[in-house]
Symmetry: C2
Subunit: 610 residues, 2 copies
């Protein structure tokens, strides 16, 4: 009873054929002594019918069937009467009249009906992941993931990249999160680390002359699962030699154009928008702006000077003072800022709605969220409510300056740190985008964020640290002054942003051992420490390392966004904790937790000996 066709292919033209189908009982209904069974496999659903006048053993087997029984049927294809044609089913013109029916495997009472799993608790969906994966939604998303992976490989191979596997058992690469460690049984006291990315290995492949490398690579971070993050995740890891930033950017654009066209039939623009990091913060208050809606942050400072609103004036004055003080210490910080957001047509927001927005702004360290509503007419605008008594006399000037129309809501954040004002108002912007339904899941708005700062000052530890990672190339014009003014140094770093998510991060890398040593020194490694941790990289750079750079789009997040989902769990076959809610064995003995903690704290990138 092996299938001759699958459940997705039969059409009216097949009428009269003898076929065998294998699949699952998706739904079954009995009507006037006839059994109608929707038989499902990966390819589709076909209606199979056990007629009233069938032999009694066939009828009684059909009676036994329950949802999700796995069965084989043999029968004749016939067209359905016109009134019974189901235009919503690809096979809806036909049905198969069963001559023979074999139960391949039975099914116990289901914890949830297939394709109704959205009503099931997530816990149940994870426990019975194998049933959850039978749903049309999960099948489509896992297929999309397969399609995207293959489209990526197709394009990369076509463009001369080699897929090269890098090890899972490595010396640790410093990427910001904790490493998973694997103790060795054969080499007592020694450990491997699992890679947070193949970063150093792909750089070594460039030193090896492989020129163009990629890998759809599994990576690991010892941290808890969240909506958009899993402790093991997959990235499209890419590295190229003899390239500058723009080569990497246009390569990436070509890749995504191919992937979106091939798998979703979506045409992306030939070039993606490019924003500097500074501009992104000024205009959207974030380095990962959602560009599916066009609300921008605007500078309100010009209206503050001649106003009587002391809070705004104080923020600017204090910012200027702090900036001067920092400058004396050679540290570059942003001054004060007053930034405004015009929300079109939302002058009808209630006080409660605005308070919710303010609470959101405060999460991002805003001291408050000021507001005014625009009333009156275009010719004669009026500012009302909130802080309007301080600015009402300049309604025309302000509304025309901000491009606000009657019916609009104006939101303002002031802070002695311009960066704080931007980020808090940027968070408000994102919330408004979601609240107002401006984030169409079927739209894909890409943007490059470029010219990131190389270093950030960690005020707690009173030292500079790498904003991205220590292997990125500082732009040439800063090479002479790296040590004097780290805060001013921009790197050849770039992020690819899609619909408000960071989809990829990359940079041109350092290939000069001396420059690499200077970077290690700026972020506070003494030479002995640097040699101990990264000696093998510095050593490799001494043997004719080529200029190189790369990028690493995250696959999970990409599929999540392409599928219009908001949780990574929806696009991974077996996310963390699938099955884990079912009873699991405990470890018979426990590793000394204190010892493990110490090891993590003092990790020195161990690796097994020879």
């Amino acid at each position: 009873m092996k299938r001759t066709v699958n459940c997705g292919v039969l059409r009216a033209a097949d009428a009269g054929k003898n076929v065998v189908l294998n699949g699952w009982v998706h739904r079954k209904r009995d009507h006037g002594g006839i059994s109608f069974i929707n038989l499902r496999d990966r390819y589709g659903i076909t209606q199979v019918v056990v007629d009233q006048d069938s032999p009694s053993d066939l009828v009684s087997t059909a009676e036994e069937l329950r949802n999700e029984y796995c069965i084989a049927v043999e029968g004749i294809v016939r067209t359905r009467p016109e009134t019974m044609v189901n235009p919503d089913m690809e096979t809806g013109e036909v049905e198969v009249v069963v001559k023979k029916l074999v139960i391949l495997s039975r099914c116990e009472v289901l914890p949830f009906q297939i394709d109704e799993e959205s009503e099931a608790k997530e816990e149940l969906r994870l426990k019975y992941r194998y049933l959850d994966l039978r749903s049309g939604g999960m099948q489509r998303r896992i297929k999309l993931r397969n399609d995207v992976m293959f489209a990526v490989r197709e394009w990369m191979i076509e463009h001369g990249f080699f897929e090269i596997e890098t090890p899972t058992f490595i010396k640790s690469t410093p990427e910001g999160a904790r490493d998973y460690l694997v103790p060795s049984r054969l080499y007592p006291g020694k450990f491997y680390a699992l890679p947070q990315s193949p970063q150093l290995y792909k750089q070594l492949l460039m030193v090896s002359g492989f020129d163009k490398y990629f890998q759809i690579a599994r990576c690991y971070r010892d941290e808890d699962a969240r909506g958009d993050r899993q402790p093991e995740f997959t990235q499209i890891d890419i590295e190229m030699s003899f390239v500058s930033r723009d080569d990497v950017l246009s390569m990436t654009e070509g890749l995504f154009q191919h992937v979106f066209r091939k798998t979703l039939g979506v045409n992306l623009p030939e070039q993606f928008r490019r924003l500097t990091y500074d501009d992104a913060l000024e205009i959207y208050g974030t380095d990962k702006p959602d560009l599916r809606f066009d609300i921008q942050l605007q500078d309100f400072a010009a209206f503050v000077e001649n106003s009587d609103f002391q809070a705004f004036k104080d923020a600017l004055a204090q910012g200027a003072a702090e900036q001067s003080a920092a400058a004396l210490k050679g540290v570059t910080i942003s001054g004060g800022g007053v930034k405004a957001l015009v929300v079109p047509g939302k002058a009808d927001y209630s006080r409660k709605q605005i308070e919710e927005l303010e609470a959101h702004a405060k999460i991002y360290k805003a001291k408050g969220l000021a507001w005014m509503k625009v009333a009156g007419s275009a010719a004669n605008p009026i500012l009302e409510g909130g802080i309007s008594k301080f600015f009402g006399d300049r309604a025309t000037e302000i509304t025309s300056g901000l491009g606000a129309k009657p019916g609009d809501l104006i939101l303002i954040v002031a802070d002695s740190r311009r960066r704080t004002a931007n980020i808090a108002l940027g968070a408000v912007r994102s919330k408004i985008g979601k609240d107002l339904g401006l984030c169409d899941p079927d739209r894909f708005e890409f943007a490059w964020i470029v010219d990131f700062p190389m270093f950030e000052f960690n005020e707690e530890e009173n030292r500079w640290e790498a904003a991205h990672h220590m292997f990125s190339w500082p732009q040439e014009k800063y090479h002479a002054t790296l040590e004097q003014d780290p805060g001013a140094v921009k790197g050849d770093l770039y992020d690819l942003v899609l619909n408000g998510y960071e989809l990829a991060s990359g940079s041109i890398r350092i290939h000069d051992p001396e420059l690499q040593k200077r970077i290690f020194s700026i972020v506070g490694f003494n030479p002995i420490e640097a040699e101990k941790k990264f000696g093998f990289l510095i050593e490799a750079f001494k043997y004719g390392a080529p200029p190189h750079g790369g990028i690493a789009p995250g696959l999970d997040r990409l599929i999540m966004l392409m599928a219009g989902e908001t949780s990574i769990k929806e696009v991974i076959a077996f996310p963390k904790n699938s099955f884990a809610v079912s009873p699991m064995d405990e470890c018979p003995s426990e590793v000394d937790q204190k010892q493990l903690d110490e090891l993590h704290l003092s990790i020195r990138y161990p690796q097994e000996g020879n």
Copy 2:
């Protein structure tokens, strides 16, 4: 100075063009004031020339160059004088006359010259792996690996398989070797195991209705590296629903036909040879015969009965007695055996050579290796040397029975266990194949070994264990008598053998929870233990599991054989211990080894909680 062309493309037709090349100084020679530089990149080598009359700064930069400097040159393509054309180089008709030369990165004194690494010690090659990888050989093999991986994916996708990623952090799957364990920092006292294969996950994907799955999957075994094995390795993991054995076999044949044709231009036969496990042992003395040479094991027992050679007679008699005794205990074992091997034309083997073969046979538990040489003529053969005095009077009968000709060497192993005689003589056969150079690395001889036994009796532990693994389907005709005579049960198990290596192993799986429980019970799990370890699998089978089966070709071994190599290290970019011979940090603290040992001994497939 970004390249306009790579180092592999210039031809005579390009003469006159202005080009920029980037690459490495492969070799450099100075001749009559002219510098000839072989500039190399991944794509080829181009000769670039700094002429005598070049500007002095160009000449002095050229003088500075040493092997493996990474440089950029700009210049004009010109055809070489006819006497200087190098037909061995693809770009040998031309050279580039340098106008501008930039050193991108310098190179220290090399530990070995690129493309002469075969003379370097393996230790040095591993320490400077990034230099080793620059060699033509490693570049070709890593490219072959890339090509094969893509060809696999191309064929699998074309044939409706989805590539689905399974987790790295799992409950342990019992596969025979030790698991690597990853202690959790977030869930004290809990551990993950790393997969030895995605076995159970791919079976769950079949339960999930994915129908056809594959994955080029990283797998892990906590054991030491060997020539053909690494602690982390890659397999082409495949599983299909609603199939029987022959479906999996012909699918695999189609896959390998595509891969070999596409990447090596080699046409494989439409169907691969098939041998039962029993026949393979009888004819080749191994379940992974090298079929590149046609020497077969033959039965010598018929000549023993009427001879005076007591050792052979004893072996057969003792074997028969042991077999009867075992049968009384319900255990099936092979009787005694006397097996012969005819080595064509090797009657000239010295006593020392034969002693070497005997020593080899003894490794495989032979008690000795008897021999005779065939002399005389075809019409009148004579047996000489060794044990010929016992058989010399029957020379014609024996040589014609074995198909031995004058000049041939006959080797014989007798044992009270037929299996031992077969295996020892099979090992001799393999050694002879290698010694006589019969193993052409450019020939690819595939064979299927089928009808493996399901269970092997572990005499030490006095219990049955799974010969392959516990999830394989016993052939239907044995279902009624599994428990009565486990030793007789054949499973729907199959191995794919290539040139004497096991390339792939697979089986039709059990999908019936009751049958699965019986297997667990036969191999000695009590029901509570079985439920604890595999409850989630049994549970999944209760929800309409489809019949399914699969196979898992090993990628590393495949590439090794395709490249004609004998070590896996030659086909992995970063094998275990690359870099490890350079000084490495020790762990600052040691995990209690005794604790770890206990954990490994009593492992109960732990996993992190929710």
